[in-house]
Symmetry: C6
Subunit: 86 residues, 6 copies
């Protein structure tokens, strides 16, 4: 799996959040490369509330990176409202 991460740049915060999820899953995949085993594990952790919270923590950490890389998308939406102030 080459070229799965060409850039940290995304057009919107929402796409940035999706990228954060992809980065989080990728960390799991590279630690457990077998898709078969991961498929066995998924129903386990996706029904364990503490696992879900821990997964959300990884996503939050990766979202920090993606958001910083995009300068918090300040240029997009924000420009329209506060271009002269920011």
């Amino acid at each position: 799996m080459k070229n799965w991460l060409k850039s940290l740049k995304t057009r919107t915060p929402e796409e940035g959040f999706d990228l954060a999820i992809r980065l989080s899953q990728r960390g799991v995949e590279l630690t457990q490369p077998s898709e078969e085993i991961r498929n066995v594990l998924r129903p386990v952790y996706s029904r364990d509330p503490n696992s879900l919270i821990a997964a959300s923590q990884v996503i939050a950490t990766n979202f920090q990176t993606v958001a910083a890389a995009n300068d918090y998308w300040k240029g997009e939406k924000w420009k329209s409202k506060s271009a002269d102030r920011e």
Copy 2:
């Protein structure tokens, strides 16, 4: 569910904290998309003190991102009091 996150910009720190909570829940929802299963899990983790602390940790991490994106709302409240010093 499209367009749930149009911007990281909020008017006040309080709205920023609400957004951090939304981001944290979204991380859970995207890992466990079934609302039915999540409804079963909620009473479990919301009565487990360690789960509550872990949830608060995710919110804290996302709040770091939102706060940075808003430059800590320095421009709003602060301006009135310390515009000449800051």
Copy 3:
């Protein structure tokens, strides 16, 4: 409970630490809104050393945010000692 977080600005590091605690508690309250249930849980986690360490971790994370928002209170105490060097 509206207007619980008007600003991230505090006068001193100590008040900033208090705010970090408030943010951490707020993350718990918004996940478990029932004060009654929280009162039942408190004696549990406040006697579990791992819960106490986890709570301190959440506070540390929120204190990072508050400290950055206040530019680490460099302007206050520090000014008197090192205004010419900093």
Copy 4:
């Protein structure tokens, strides 16, 4: 206990690490104010390796804050060696 945290400024990285420890303990103390109970818990967590690692994680997080507040003590030791390069 008032005035326990007058400033995040320390003279050396070592004093900064000590302050990070104090901040971490303070987070525990404010969650469990009873010194009696904390004294009962100490021998428990100080012999549990996972608790020790978790405590070290809190210290690391607080040390990030203290180090940033002191601009990583670049001005002190570093100045002598690399003032012209940095």
Copy 5:
């Protein structure tokens, strides 16, 4: 094992993610230097979903460092599209 980390600079985000994984593994290796014991442990944690999520958390933290060190690779891909805006 000398010279395993010559630089935090990588050509692409993908290579940066690989480096983050290497840093995460290195943290484990330096805590448990015996390759024999690590080989015994691998099948254990690579089938425990919570371990996989925790490993992904370490990778995410190291990726923050590597991404910041590379200024989020803004200069590479981004230049072509937005050199005049950024």
Copy 6:
């Protein structure tokens, strides 16, 4: 043990990683000062995969601090290749 941390400055990223490990161990030592007890605990956590991952997480957090303190060692290796661009 005085003067164990004179500076966060290291010559190379590799030495910086070593310092991050020292900071992580120091956090444990200051929570459990008895070397005798720590020697009893070491074989326990060094064979528990989740403890090893948690230790690697602490190291990653401290490495963030050390890397930032060294401006990611950009000046060293990088200068040779990209002094005119950076």
